[in-house]
């Protein structure tokens, strides 16, 4: 009866397994990925929240947090063509804001969009580069532990910089495991030393774009 009804409704015929028959043998279809199922990271050895109710930190709090953490002025952050603030104008909507006056957007989006990570990356990178530029040019404020004239970053200086960034950007001390992860940024994929300037930008960017930065 079910098959008759489906046929009458123009539905595709079901395979014996109940799946829609694509017309191609299963062994011909290459999914492009290995068969092993990636189970993801193992669960932490402690209780975790079961509520799954994180809030999205919107554009103004994101901006204020970057300005305070990196001791910057608003003008230091990303500006399109030097004219349009990335946060107030160019990326306002994907960063969680709304523009009611000229665009009639009376409410912000309820959840991040596909371009939110891109916009976040751009804003965070601009902030980190501005901070590093200012630290290189003058009295260092955030990266005082780094010798920007050196060819490489020593481990102790890297750990100090990472610790400072964690406290500034996340408001907490990073775990030893996190410090170790970020310290890996002192070496590039080929095993060569990364310059102190690049390390400063990259470590700042990596911490400033953690999910913890934008969800609370």
């Amino acid at each position: 009866m079910l098959v008759v009804a489906l046929a009458a409704a123009g539905c595709p015929e079901l395979s014996p397994a109940g799946d829609v028959d694509s017309g191609v043998p299963d062994d011909v279809i290459d999914s492009g990925v290995a068969d092993e199922v990636d189970a993801g990271p193992p669960p932490p050895p402690f209780a975790i929240s079961t509520r799954n109710r994180l809030a999205w930190k919107r554009q103004r709090a994101l901006e204020n947090d970057l300005l305070i953490a990196l001791a910057l002025e608003k003008a230091d952050l990303c500006n399109e063509l030097g004219l349009y603030s990335c946060i107030d104008f160019v990326h306002l909507v994907p960063l969680g804001g709304n523009e009611p006056f000229s665009r009639s957007q009376y409410e912000p989006l309820p959840s991040p969009t596909v371009t939110t990570p891109i916009a976040l990356d751009r804003v965070a990178l601009s902030a980190c580069r501005a901070r590093v530029d200012q630290d290189v040019a003058g009295v260092p404020v955030v990266f005082a532990s780094l010798d920007f004239d050196a060819a490489a970053v020593d481990a102790e200086a890297a750990a100090a910089a990472i610790d400072g960034l964690g406290k500034r950007l996340l408001g907490r001390a990073l775990t030893p495991g996190e410090v170790e992860e970020f310290a890996a940024l002192t070496i590039d994929d080929d095993g060569a030393a990364v310059s102190p300037r690049d390390f400063a930008v990259l470590s700042c960017f990596a911490i400033a774009t953690m999910s913890e930065t934008i969800f609370y």
Binding site: T50, A55, K57, A61, N98, R172
Partner: protein, 464 residues
């Protein structure tokens, strides 16, 4: 599966099930009121009457739950107006939308029994060793501290602030002190609250005082909104204020003159005809425009300050004998228009005495003689309460009833809790919402600031 079943029946019998193609006469504007009489304590009836979408996809078409209720009426040979409660009772154990929850479970949870995408299962309690970062599953002071600073100060706490908070003996007191500071911050008064006002004011720069076609100044609206919801002020002034706030933040009493014959940029409504946000020049200009019976104005007031969106079939409390179609727009069609206009038109009559665009006396001015009909031809009604002589009183009585209604406090509590959580409250957070709304009158003495202090103590806010 449900569609498949229907197809099977069609194929086998050649007869269309009546429940799927219910006749238009089945949609009953009195249904929401009857349903809430049967389930007065259900979330869907708290500070509201249930939306028509409880039983309909769009009236008069029924959803799966509505179809089952209709079938129960038919099966029991029941009369809709008299026996709807019995029919509702008879389908309580069913799972009309097939989402795994019975209809009664969904009604009690606040999800929709005719919508398979609307369901809820409470999260399991966290288990395992203590979490080193959060007090998961219980109120977490540090989590709430961070959340309130982001929500109301527009920034996260610094490392030093977190350390000081962690070391504080009375963290709750410190948290409330932080909230007090945030609620007077430039972020909250200059951005946080104005963004909550946007959809209530609906600004449009092109016709603002500094726009290409200046017609009014919504700056007055934003300032009054912020003023009423900050400090030790009665939030009901959103609807009851007879004053305005100037650009310097000072209270201005009396008529405020604007430019030219239209009084552009002023507040020409007489003081005793003012009703806060719903009689500002901007509100009346942008919603009334050229309408003799300003339904859009009334609908926006109902939506923005009572949380009842008639366009979404919410808040329908039809008045007998309505719609009269007093302005001859053809809204008295009994098959279609009546579902909304029996509620909307009586809401709108009071607003007809205020100028829109182009009336003499200035945009937004009170004008008792504006509508072409006689006052005795219509009776304004809000929330089942007749409003009396609106030609003499304007919308002041409308505003009094609205500002003291369960809908007003529910809407205010919902606005703030939704903002704080970044989403609408979930079923296991509705008790918190209800407590916030119910305490607004007596506990908060109508102060929004006090409501926010209670809000940050709720589990909805502080449990990670």
């Amino acid at each position: 599966m449900r569609l498949l079943s229907v197809l099977v029946v069609v194929t086998a019998t050649g007869v269309l099930p009546s429940a799927l193609f219910a006749p238009a006469a089945l949609a009953k504007p009195v249904g929401p009121r009857l349903a809430c009489a049967h389930y007065p304590d259900a979330p869907m009836c708290r500070g509201a009457v249930v939306a028509c979408t409880q039983c309909h996809t769009a009236p008069p078409e029924l959803n799966s739950y509505g179809s089952d209720v209709f079938a129960a009426l038919e099966a029991g040979n029941l009369v809709y107006e008299d026996d709807l409660g019995t029919a509702l009772l008879n389908v309580e154990g069913d799972d009309s939308d097939g989402d795994g929850l019975t209809n009664l479970e969904e009604i009690l949870l606040g999800t929709r029994p005719g919508d398979a995408s609307s369901f809820f299962s409470a999260p399991a309690p966290p288990s395992g060793a203590p979490n080193p970062g959060f007090d998961v599953g219980t109120y977490d002071e540090a989590f709430a501290f961070r959340r309130l600073l982001i929500d109301y100060c527009g920034r996260s706490p610094t490392f030093e602030e977190r350390e000081a908070f962690a070391a504080a003996i009375d963290q709750r007191a410190l948290r409330h002190a932080a909230l007090d500071a945030c609620l007077t911050s430039s972020y909250w008064t200059g951005e946080g609250l104005p963004r909550l006002a946007d959809k209530r004011i609906r600004p449009l720069q092109a016709i603002n005082i500094d726009g290409v076609i200046p017609l009014a100044d919504y700056g007055w609206d934003y300032r009054l909104f912020v003023h009423a919801l900050t400090g030790d002020r009665d939030a009901r002034d959103l609807l009851l204020a007879t004053y305005h706030i100037d650009a310097a933040g000072l209270v201005v009493e009396g008529v405020i003159t604007g430019d030219g014959d239209d009084q552009v940029g002023g507040q020409p409504a007489l003081v005793d005809k003012r009703a806060g946000m719903i009689t500002t020049q901007w509100f009346l200009m942008v919603h009334t425009m050229f309408s003799e019976l300003p339904r859009t104005t009334a609908a926006q007031a109902y939506r923005a300050y009572l949380g009842q969106d008639i366009a979404r079939s919410e808040g329908l409390l039809p008045v007998e004998g309505e719609p009269k179609d007093i302005d001859d727009k053809g809204v008295d069609d009994q098959e279609t228009c009546i579902y909304c206009h029996a509620t909307l038109d009586p809401l709108s009559y009071a607003f007809a005495h205020y100028n829109g665009i182009g009336d003499s006396g200035g945009i937004g001015a009170y004008n008792a003689n504006r509508p072409s009909w006689q006052p005795s031809e219509v009776e304004a009604v809000l929330l089942d309460v007749p409003l009396g002589d609106t030609a003499a009183a304007g919308v002041t009585q409308w505003a009094q009833i609205a500002a003291n209604s369960p809908q007003f406090r529910q809407n205010l509590a919902s606005m703030f809790l939704t903002h704080a959580l970044g989403r609408a409250p979930l079923p296991d957070e509705l008790d918190d919402l209800q407590a916030l709304a119910e305490g607004f009158d007596d506990v908060d003495d109508h102060r929004a600031v006090r409501l926010l202090h209670r809000l940050i103590d709720t589990n909805a806010f502080g449990v990670p």
